[in-house]
Amino acid sequence: MQCAEALRVQAYFDGEVDAVSALEVERHAEHCAECRSLLEHLADTRLRLRRDLEFPSAPSALRTSIGRLLDEETGQVAPGVAAPGVAAPAVAAPAVAAPSVAARARRRPRWRLRPLWLAGLGGVGAVFAAALALLIAAPWATNAVLDELVSAHVRSLMPDHLTDVVSTDRHTVKPWFAGHVDVSPVVADFADQGYRLLGGRADYFEHQRVAAVVYQHGAHFINVFAWAAAGRPLPQYTTRSGYHIACWRLGNLQYCAVSDTGWDELQGLTRLLRAAGSADTPQ
């Protein structure tokens, strides 16, 4: 009875789908009266809820009593660990509490201590997050190329951005690159293996024109970027913002494949391209 797309339509309404899905949902809704009315209902419900329901602030009595409670809590703790902020990395510490400040704060009225807690809950969380992100991503944290790759991939999925030259024939796509980018990447159609060549596109990042070869695998698009290799090597496999990225070098070219397919599918294409590349390239 309910359209099978209803959950996806809802996700679209809630801003939870990527550009490709959004486009598909919009196209679907053009033909599906049920989903069109679902979208109207969703908007209507949201409007009424946000307009008609009250959004009460916490009563000031509650605010005060929590403040008092936390003051007491702080008072119980030994001076050295007076506030959670002290345990945070050095960045937060000077702004927050030397033990003496905390000791004074305990005798002072509540408002004196509030900033401590505020800095604690807000600031330290952020610092922890930043520190953690650095620790986890340290080797590639500064590698802006990966971010650019993902951006370029996402941008390519916007309507009419995917390909500059549309062709499933590598003999059309490859020569096209010669006039539009600085490199001549491996181009091949692997339709038999499930990777259909859609075409090519010129992108610009890393201060140079970059070739992008576009493949389709099932419902997913894979962008294979290629540019003249320079600078630090990129990680062989990594994931950014949910997109998988596979990088390899062949001859003097740097290749990076970006997609939201599964790892196995992405690696499948990577293997095929490497094989085709080694057969092609004399170096």
């Binding site: 009424r48 809820l49 009563p59 809590e73 807690w117 505020l118 330290v124």
Partner: protein, 163 residues
Amino acid sequence: MLPHLDAAYRFARWLCRPPSDADDIVQEAFLRAFRAFEGLRGGDVKAWLLTIVRNCHASALEQQRRRATVPLPDDYEAEGSPSPESVSAADEERRALRRLVAALPEEHREVLVLREMEDMSYREIASVTQVPIGTVMSRLARARAALRGNWLKDAAGEPSAVR
């Protein structure tokens, strides 16, 4: 200003029956949050805090149930009922909407409130309610459909409530 206190309070008001229990829940939640703070590693502080609010509510409910002394009141409008003369049609509509949201099953009500009132993403809601994103999506759909169905029924059944 305590960060996210208003969000925590609003969320607790929607969870608790009666809503006046929200004060206690929020107080307890902030105390727990304060004590557990050093254990927080990155992540979204608001979602983390609301998770604690939700846990506090769950354990309070569990305690009540074990003691089995307090029957759960069904009247969410208990406090602050205005005098009949001051009730406009628009007020009446607002109160009806509030009653309808409050009447949703808790697992539906919480995702709806987090999405529509707190504007949280599916991922954040999933982390607060501790269920997979797919479950968030289906609960949200059911909550919205039920709410809409009930208010159409409400409007049809009580013509006096709408102007």
